[in-house]
Symmetry: C2
Subunit: 319 residues, 2 copies
């Protein structure tokens, strides 16, 4: 019997909770249960499987709030899903949650970019040492195939990655291409709930940079980090008429030696040029296939829950 502890019950936690119960039978997960939820907002909930999201939100069967670290240490769960909000400067509290869970011999699934981008080597080594799995598909392009495409390409040597990894900035640039100003498009994105009130993580390129770092670590390109890569966002950018035969994108570009995030003009014939609005995309250049491209949603409740489900099934199937 696999037992899941969910730490953090915001959008991602709730979406995964719903998707898990919707797909449980289809995926033959009768022997797997969401065993416990630790939420700073809704309290500490044991055996939430009989409850609906609304009952959880209403505080049904929740007990006095308990420290998340304590819960992780004491829980009988063997799979910890880390979905808390994270401070990107130090990756906390998510990094500590993940570290503690791994140290306790629990498998971990996270959708938090910070811990994986900032502490990739430490956390993956710790997982290996403890003989457990650390999965993080949701950190890059939600459930849309991204770095996990490499599992379908054994032996292929990755030479280069180009990507559009941030939907908010791609939406703004797509709207600007219709003739609006940066300010108008940012305001539109905020009014639609696409951009946060504090949108600097997206606008200034850090969200894309973190994803670039995670992608490159998965490939085995270990040298890139926030301190040594070129990061340029789209704040206050303007699209001049001279661009009409090309398209401006906030492009991630990585190879073994160099990594950058910066506004880049793509020619109309470039397959990434037509990736519009909230879509994300990645182009992987390999020795055996040349360029392959994956396009799909990079965020969203169910799209992120799919990533968690993908990770969960890999853990369940190999346990």
């Amino acid at each position: 019997l696999n037992k899941i502890l969910i730490v953090g019950f915001g959008n991602v936690g709730q979406a995964f909770f719903e998707l898990f119960h919707e797909k449980r039978k289809l995926l033959r997960l009768e022997d797997t249960a969401i065993y416990e939820i630790s939420s700073t907002t809704y309290g500490h909930i044991k055996n939430p499987s009989q409850l609906t999201i609304d009952q959880i939100k209403a505080g049904k069967l929740s007990v006095e709030r308990q420290d998340a670290m304590e819960t992780i240490r004491e829980s009988e769960a063997d799979i910890v899903c880390e979905f808390t909000q994270v401070n990107i400067k130090d990756g906390e509290p998510a990094s500590s949650h993940i570290r503690t869970a791994l140290e306790c011999g629990k498998n971990v699934i996270t959708t938090n970019k910070g811990p994986m981008a900032l502490h990739y080597e430490e956390l993956t080594e710790l997982a290996m040492k403890r003989g457990v799995q650390l999965k993080f598909k949701g950190t890059v392009m939600a459930g849309t195939p991204s770095f996990n495409l490499l599992k379908l390409l054994p032996g292929a040597e990755v030479q280069k990655i180009r990507g559009i990894f941030n939907g908010t900035t791609n939406f703004i640039l797509s709207e600007m291409a219709k003739g609006k100003s940066f300010g108008e498009c940012l305001a539109l994105a905020q009014s639609m709930g696409i951009a946060e009130a504090d949108s600097s993580m997206d606008i200034d390129g850090f969200d894309s940079a973190l994803k670039a770092i995670i992608f490159s670590k998965v490939i085995g390109w270990s040298k890139h980090n926030l301190g040594n890569m070129e990061i340029k966002g789209i704040r206050g950018i303007s699209i001049t008429d001279g661009h009409c035969s090309s398209v401006l994108k906030l492009l991630v570009s990585i190879d073994k030696e160099e990594a950058s995030v910066k506004p880049t003009l793509l020619s109309q014939g470039d397959p990434l040029a037509s990736v519009d609005g909230l879509l994300n995309a990645v182009e992987i250049t390999t020795d055996t296939l040349g360029k392959i491209i994956s396009i799909g949603p990079g965020a969203g409740r169910t799209a992120t829950a799919q990533a968690v489900m993908t990770d969960l099934m890999e853990i369940v199937r190999t346990n």
Copy 2:
């Protein structure tokens, strides 16, 4: 120790032979060997691993030609790679080779569309009954992720597939969009070696239809076959000026109830509209992600060899 028998040593067989030896160490395949080759052109070759392609072509260490069926039955190999030329009307001789290998308890990898499209249920059931694997990634989009993307999306319910599955016709339509006639473009494709002298399989849509059938069988949509789906090719087609805001593609469209291959006008904003030249693409619509798209080469020596390598690694890793 896994032992591979290659049946058919044309382009695909040779490309796989080369890729296998190039990637053997990287993939830790020291315990796997190409044990035997059965080729109507180059003879019957035992222990070809010490030979180069040129030595094989020169007939070094090949013995009197032996019947392929006899070789399959008598070989010590536990993995048979079926790469022969196939007659699409009855899928022979590939279907018989595959059937015999499975009956002998051998795993099978094939890149032949005919057997999989015409005898899918029979062959997959036979493999299951014998407790062996039957892999056929290379039949749809070569090594570019296609139906195997579903492995990365556990629980996702597929609602619809749209695809550009034939590079030859896509190349011709892309060239025609520049103002040339169908005849000119077909001749160009033939002079470049992209289209066969007898190009009817491609031009009349059957190649795309077979791939559509295989894709739908993998999803579990079992009703589609060559007899009940709409198949319309591009022979003699013309692109009129009225099409300038849209793009003509030979589009595969499948859902549970309907399947078709036909020339279809896509609007410029359609992500499949910008898939040009020899590229293939598939758009998969699911309940959890909406639309995701995979684009890449659909043919070619190394791209097809990658598909075989992908299949081989799945067999080796689960054995």
